[in-house]
Symmetry: C2
Subunit: 166 residues, 2 copies
DNA sequence: TCCTAAAGTTCTATTTTAGAACTGTCAATA
DNA sequence: TATTGACAGTTCTAAAATAGAACTTTAGGA
């Protein structure tokens, strides 16, 4: 499967993966949320090759996640800023960081702590249900086909059926 | 940078990306949460090459995200089940799906709807602060070095400094 | 004139991935 | 008994992506 094919899949995960589902895009976005904006800053802070960095920035701009704006005119210089669409990726980034905090830290502990400016406390992100506000776990969620559903694979249909029986 | 190097980075995002930061791992995990368990089910439902599927399953088992258990003896057959560590990836998967639902759906609408068994309503996931319960946005979060921090790049140090001034 | 900075582009060598075919074990069928 | 089919992979070659380094362009300053 080609990357382009992913964008067409009738699956919100696949389509998002087409945008951010590679190593460097996610690391670039991490830097964006840490207020990194310029080509050379990304390059020195990530150690990514300049070739790939140029390619990924272009892709993120094409998908509307970053906006490329000039910050000086002579010579022309640009910086990359998160759009609202990009800012909306924050829960993804935070949930990835949180899983790493729980399952991947070494004896030294967490590399970063997060403070919520609202309540001035160090916090962890928690995912809750928009309707009842309770924390979510995989086992408490049931999946239904939505208006954009297409016929799913036999294997998945069987799995859904098995789940419904329980 | 090699994939192995990512695991060593003093960054919870980089370390998590070392586990799930490629296209196929995320798609495999999506199927896992939809109760897909067996090699051929993954293969036919994803269209991934068998070679890569074998490789990614091995990797996910190595990292403790999946457990490979026999479900019959003659001939030996195995299935791949999410461990608790794997189940803990649910917020990542859900926040990816949610972003896709908001920013990547076409005119047909969402492919899947999610029902919360607790409150029996269709819901969206919301990320909130563990301390005050308010929804989180990037701009309301301030970052501090934690016990596992290492000296960061000059570019990032400057960016953090700039942010502190505001 | 030469040096530096920023933001890329170009080049070759190495790794990964795609796509298809092949292997081995066992059960059920003809 | 021979054949077919399911399952869980492995092996092969060709194509694509990535790493690492050098090069380019535009302009300001020593």
């Amino acid at each position: 499967m080609k990357w382009d094919a992913l964008e067409e899949e009738p699956c919100s995960l696949a389509r998002t993966v087409a945008v951010i589902g590679d190593r460097w895009s996610l690391l670039i976005l991490r830097e964006c949320f840490l207020r990194i904006r310029r080509f050379d800053e990304f390059q020195s802070s990530l150690g990514v090759t300049r070739h790939l960095l140029a390619d990924r920035l272009k892709k993120l701009v094409r998908f509307g996640v970053l906006r490329k704006t000039p910050y000086q005119d002579a010579p022309k210089r640009y910086e990359y800023i998160l759009t609202q669409k990009g800012l909306d990726l924050y829960p993804i980034i935070m949930s990835i960081v949180h899983w790493g905090n729980i399952h991947m830290v070494d004896a030294r502990g967490r590399p970063l702590l997060h403070e919520h400016k609202n309540c001035h406390k160090m916090f962890d992100p928690v995912m809750v249900c928009s309707e009842c506000g309770e924390p979510l776990t995989a086992k408490e969620v049931h999946v239904h086909p939505g208006p954009g559903a297409r016929k799913s694979s036999p294997a998945r249909a069987k799995a859904v059926e098995n789940e419904a029986k329980r």
